[in-house]
């Protein structure tokens, strides 16, 4: 039994046990990244509309998988918790930030397509800045976003995930532009690392938290 008591740490520990300790979200993120790495290849085969439909279907299957795993594996082992108003408020803020992070690229894409915003004039800037301006911006935002979530939730490994996702995407794009690689294998490597961490966490969770036999 740990005797180190701090209200803030207690709150973080409770949140971690309820959400991140079983590795399910890590596995979800890893599968999503691996799926995204196949996206450009499949777009050439299936066409954009069917490819998008496939992406949405796989995403839905992953989310259902997470729900089922948490209901039948995590909850019987770790139990349930209802958070207080302060924590709920914090979760709502983080959900709002996540939604902005997910929706912002779509909004920029629509604004770009409709010519509401145009390509900035880079003047005498080097070619790489001109070619990868959006990707560099995306990498910086991804690292910042994951860093923010890692700090707010007290889950340090999310810093690593931010770097893996951001750099994986940037290197993939560079390789696609300069070498013509449509299969984003750096993203697969990033996803693979996260998947290994997720599976290790999941196995540790099953080992540390067996289903209790005694009943209350």
């Amino acid at each position: 039994m740990s005797h180190n008591i701090s209200l803030k740490e207690a709150q973080r520990k409770a949140f971690r046990l309820a959400t991140f300790q079983d590795g399910c979200w890590d596995i979800f993120l890893a599968c999503f990244l691996i799926m995204m790495s196949f996206y450009p290849v499949l777009r050439n085969v299936l066409g954009p509309a069917l490819n998008l439909l496939l992406l949405i279907c796989v995403l839905a299957i992953l989310l259902i998988g997470i729900y089922v795993a948490r209901k039948y594996i995590t909850v019987p082992r770790a139990g349930l918790v209802k958070f207080g108003p302060t924590q709920k408020e914090k979760i709502k803020k983080l959900q709002a930030i996540t939604l902005i992070f997910v929706l912002a690229p779509f909004v920029f894409w629509i604004l770009g397509v409709t010519h509401v915003i145009t390509e900035p004039d880079w003047g005498t800037a080097p070619d790489w800045m001109r070619d990868f301006d959006v990707d560099i911006l995306f990498t910086a935002i991804t690292i910042g976003f994951f860093g923010l979530i890692a700090y707010a939730l007290g889950v340090p490994r999310l810093h690593l995930y931010g770097w893996l996702l951001g750099l994986g995407n940037l290197v993939s794009t560079i390789l696609e532009v300069y070498e013509g690689f449509t299969f984003h294998f750096p993203l697969v490597m990033s996803g693979g690392i996260i998947l290994l961490i997720g599976v290790a966490l999941f196995i540790r969770f099953l080992r540390d938290y067996p289903i209790p036999t005694e009943e209350t």
């Binding site: 740990s2 520990k13 349930l80 938290y209 005694e214 209350t216």
Partner: protein, 108 residues
């Protein structure tokens, strides 16, 4: 001139709530303080206590009126939710203040 502390000076320490002061119960109350309610298993995992140990501490906290234990069945499975009562929340806050005062008054 030296001064000795009277029992009045040590008032916060004398009045310390012994139900809360036990390390395991303090741990349980700390976790319950930061959530709305938690299932027995969740609390057991979080505090790192055994089933019997947590059960015994919860009984003492329930006797003191600090926690509310709600036992029900969801399907065929027992489901025990534990929540800090208003009395328990106030007692925890007072305990925290008393301990802080005692520790602040200690010389470096």
């Amino acid at each position: 001139m030296t001064t000795t502390k009277t029992s009045k000076d040590l008032h916060p320490l004398v009045d310390i709530d012994r139900v809360i002061h036990a390390p395991a119960r303090l741990m349980v109350l700390t976790y319950l303080y930061v959530v709305e309610s938690a299932e027995f298993i969740f609390l057991m995992r979080l505090a790192g206590l055994t089933w019997g140990n947590l059960s015994s501490h919860l009984s003492k906290l329930e006797e003191a009126g600090y926690v509310d234990i709600d036992k029900k069945f969801v399907g065929k499975k027992p489901h025990t939710m534990i929540r800090l009562t208003d009395q328990g929340r106030t007692a925890f806050r007072e305990y925290k203040q008393s301990m802080q005062q005692v520790l602040d008054d200690l010389p470096d």
